[in-house]
Symmetry: C2
Subunit: 331 residues, 2 copies
């Protein structure tokens, strides 16, 4: 294993230190925790938005803390849920009296610990609502989930709900927006290589030299099938058709898309995928309103990508297109 | 080799198509070329800024086209200079009558072709000036260069000169800013793994399982030494000390820094490097004014990073901190 790390046990702590040093005016670490919050938060009169999960998916989630997105993000150890105690500390720190929305990716550990954190916060009279993102169309149940997994579509939930909160929406309105994005978003990914976790130091799963895994999860969980290596166009077609089949959109529907890199994939290749993705959407009579290409939710050093499609209406376009100012996303 | 590509011969063309589809309001491709320019350019009354070079370094350079940075970027084939003809087309397309500054990384092919392009443009009465960036402190001459190589510090040249042009600076003023950044910037990189070019399909150079290369170039050119794998702190110390030795800054000097990923490095690891970098700068009595962490100038799928330090004064802080709106950099 070759990684730019010191002791694997210190990697999350040292990453968080390095993040705060990079964005001292934006991010603040809650003492004694692996929770980052807005340096200027909580914001008076605004619903708080928080998320979190295992580390190794950077810039998810702390990269999305800032104006128009998240107020806090809890970083568990690599691929491990943050504890309920830390999540509870985060919820409390991000409440300005208007309540807090927990945005949770659908993994059993995350859901359980966020549930507990919500109960702990409620005991202190903080109003907490929770949404669970399950945008991965690949598999119904998986290694760490009942139901579908939450993957890159989560970023669109952060964005739209964050914009609603910034615009003064109340907790139920912000939650409704989050649920609307979840209903209208599908994602599917592929791995060309396995990720290597810092503590294990070797590939999480074995893939042959000419094999890829379709429908992969963001922790290297098994997908739907292993196939021989295919061309970028073939892979993009496979991923996109599966997502579109799930969403079952009407002709002329406007969409926004993400071609997301898994951490080890050159940006060049993601643009090659985007080219085919947009061609396929056109063939389906869909209209692309906006498209993002880059590393939004990664899986350590995994090579591969995911394709996300979100059907948008006027409300979602206004929210997804609203200004945002975070380390990882600005518009 | 596993890459998200179709025919390796088509990768640059398809990447450019995918970029324009991702940013249709921002980027326009010059017909029959691999040149991208501002969709709304050339901008009346503004000096044009252009750059270019071999592909494989994305988001360099086309990702930096937009308000406050570049007007055009030429993409050669992977690790191969764009032709003089294409560079000349770009210069012409980016001239609004105020002249054009070519920002060239110091590689023999790039310098030669930009020189020829400048001569061709001059014959059509376009005023052209040129700067050559050589921020890599690792080696004096190398495989593709006389003198030092141009690497990630080039982005700061784009940024500061772009801000000067956006503020209405004339060609000589914009060039002077570019030269000021070049004089005050140093970079050094390391590779943990070799990049794999699409046409060759195998590692450009061999590195043992426990070996790294210090002072690596962005095309996998040899660096200063091969050593056993070291910790992130040791690597960061080595890179930073070399850069600081070269810059020889006074106590109390303000700097901006970049921890740049080479394409295959998880963002998590780059933050670990940033933590140590900032600690070292403090020990040297330097004050960090701003720090960037991310993939700014990559080398395909290479794992590794570079550290850039730029000494800033009030003028450079104003320019480097000015608003910018491009696909890859917004502030």
């Amino acid at each position: 294993m070759k990684k730019l790390i010191n002791d694997p046990e210190d990697i999350v702590d040292e990453m968080l230190e390095g993040m705060v040093l990079a964005y001292p005016d934006r991010l603040r670490r809650l003492d004694g925790t692996e929770v980052l919050v807005r340096a200027d938060g909580p914001v008076d009169g605004k619903v708080g938005l928080v998320s979190g999960g295992g580390s190794g998916h950077e810039p998810t989630h702390a990269g999305y803390i800032g104006d128009g997105m998240l107020d806090g993000a809890a970083a568990g150890q690599v691929f491990t849920s943050p504890t309920a105690d830390q999540l509870s500390e985060m919820v409390k720190a991000c409440d300005a009296g208007e309540g807090v929305l927990n945005i949770v990716k659908n993994y059993e550990g995350d859901v359980m610990n966020f549930d507990t954190a919500a109960e702990m916060a409620a005991m202190e009279d903080i109003e907490v609502e929770q949404v669970v993102v399950d945008d991965d169309v690949a598999v119904e149940d998986s290694l760490y989930t009942s139901g579908r997994r939450g993957v890159c579509g989560t970023i669109l939930v952060h964005k739209a709900a964050g914009a609603k909160a910034a615009a003064g929406g109340d907790l139920s309105e912000v939650k409704a927006v989050a649920e609307k994005v979840i209903e209208n978003t599908g994602t599917m990914g592929t791995a060309l290589t396995s990720c290597v976790t810092p503590d294990k130091g070797e590939p999480t799963f074995d893939l042959g030299e000419d094999e890829i895994e379709l429908g992969i999860g963001i922790h290297g969980e098994p997908g739907t099938e292993r196939t021989d290596m295919m061309s970028a166009d073939e892979i993009t077609t496979h991923l996109t058709e599966k997502v579109l089949e799930d969403l079952a959109l009407d002709d002329g529907q406007e969409v926004m898309t993400i071609v997301n890199g898994m951490g080890g994939t050159p940006l060049m290749e993601l643009f090659v995928v985007n080219r085919k993705l947009q061609e396929i959407l056109g063939e389906h009579g869909l209209e692309t309103w906006d498209s993002w290409v880059g590393d939004y939710m990664t899986s350590l050093d995994m090579m591969g990508c995911s394709v996300t499609v979100c059907a948008v209406d006027d409300e979602l376009k206004e929210l997804l297109g609203a200004p945002v100012d975070t380390p990882a996303l600005k518009q």
